[in-house]
């Protein structure tokens, strides 16, 4: 298999895994500085996943619970979705926006589920955090280390400052921003079938994933 695909696949795993990891947020810590917030989330989620065989096995309802309780408070899913949809977001009705956000979230959770099953004995290394106190968008850099060695997996988090604290708005695995990477696909769906076409594509995809999960 070629190296690029290998790196990319590794990236997707890591990113998903990281996206989950990063987010074990507690509402009480919402006012933390961004680097402290990410650190707490990552450590919390890693500990939870390592101690829960069901999550490692891909139990969707348990992973949903994890997302609801720890990840949601620290992630701005709506903003993530708006960013993935890009310029077409403004032409969607509020109801359509809600539907897209809900379906996109489902899709990401399914992907997280797969990534979480990869959590073994990795450790997360936090790189020195540099930001101007006035910055409203920052990137927290980490890397995932395997105990056996091998190439560290770059895993960065983009956060933005909102009224109720810092929120994660994108995750970068091996140099690829996950949310940004959806832009062309989403734009393509909208150009083919409008906003409703995009919603349908997401619903179909999630149904297909749910059916696979049922078989497994």
């Amino acid at each position: 298999m070629n190296a690029a695909v290998k790196r990319f696949c590794g990236g997707v795993i890591a990113l998903v895994f990281g996206a989950v990891t990063l987010q074990g947020a507690l509402a009480q810590g919402a006012q933390d500085p961004p680097d402290a917030l990410v650190k707490r989330l990552v450590e919390d989620v890693m500990a939870t996943v390592k101690s829960d065989k069901d999550i490692q096995g891909g139990n969707i309802s348990k992973i949903n619970d994890l997302v609801e309780s720890k990840i949601l408070p620290s992630v701005d899913f709506k903003r993530m979705t708006a960013s993935a949809v890009g310029r077409n977001w403004a032409s969607a009705t509020p109801d359509q926006q809600t539907q897209i956000t809900e379906q996109f979230r489902k899709l990401l959770v399914y992907t997280y589920a797969g990534a979480l099953s990869q959590v073994r004995d990795q450790t997360i290394q936090f790189k020195p955090f540099r930001a101007d106190p006035a910055d409203t968008t920052v990137v927290v850099q980490t890397q995932v280390l395997n105990t056996k060695g091998g190439e560290p997996i770059q895993l960065n988090y983009k956060l933005t400052k909102e009224a109720d604290g810092w929120k994660i708005i994108d995750v970068n695995v091996l140099g690829v921003w996950l949310v940004e990477n959806y832009r062309s696909t989403f734009a393509q769906q909208v150009s083919q079938g409008g906003i409703d076409g995009l919603i349908k594509a997401l619903v179909d995809k999630n149904n297909q994933l749910a059916a696979q999960k049922g078989k497994a």
Binding site: N2, G86, K148, N181, T185
Partner: protein, 288 residues
Amino acid sequence: MNATSSSSLSRLFLVAALFAASFLAGCATPGPPDPRDPLEGMNRATFEFNDGLDRAVLAPVARGYTYVIPEPVRDCVGNVFGNMSDAWTAVNNLLEGNPHDGGSDICRVAINTTLGIGGCFDVASGMGFDKHKKDFGLTLGVWGIAPGPYLVLPLFGPSDFRDSAGLVVDFEVDPLGYLYPTWQRNIIEGVRVIDARSQLLNAGNLLDSAALDKYVFVRDGYFTRRRSQIYNGNPPDEPDDTQPNPMQTPQQPAPPAGGAPMKTSFNQILYPAQHTFGTNAAPLAMDR
């Protein structure tokens, strides 16, 4: 295969892949085109072919390998190949003007070859010498060569014109290519491919579940990832494409620390076609 020629199995594949790609380049491209992917029709066909081949042959073989060979042996095999690629990574890091990473890579090879017993154990990572991965396509990128159109190579997967040229150089310097007799070399090449695939077995389904259109997802990720690697993981921001201004010239990113991407006329020489894309030229110029 002629044992006195320097062509190995993988070289043969590469030549065949490049030939097939150039042969198919005339095929029509359906759908709204991405300016970076004028050969989308052909690329999609190759992508499907690779996917099918992987499902039918490579993935099952890799699963068998994982089942039969104990994990410590597989780790050792992977590390030995990794150690060989680290040496080439060191050269590329030096060519790219990254003396710090290049020096660290040289130390890695020295440590892993000796203390790590011929590269069998990656002890250098534990000592703080992080593994990097560089190839000649990236070095060309640092030198200012634009990626050119996207190109899915048969067997090798996602690439672009620049990285395909880099791949040819990567194979030329591969010490395995100079190993004789050829049948031994081909066995080792085969093991290398199976080893690489086996490390991805658990990852396989993630891409399938994440992407609405796997082809587009992989393509966009490929360009972004390569650009990030050229800037050693810290690329400057690209202009926001949600608010396009076709009349604006793309911003010239600042050179990365330690590297000095030069603006060369190679782009014009190698990829004159990119200038015919007019207002859509920005994505092609992103690596400069």
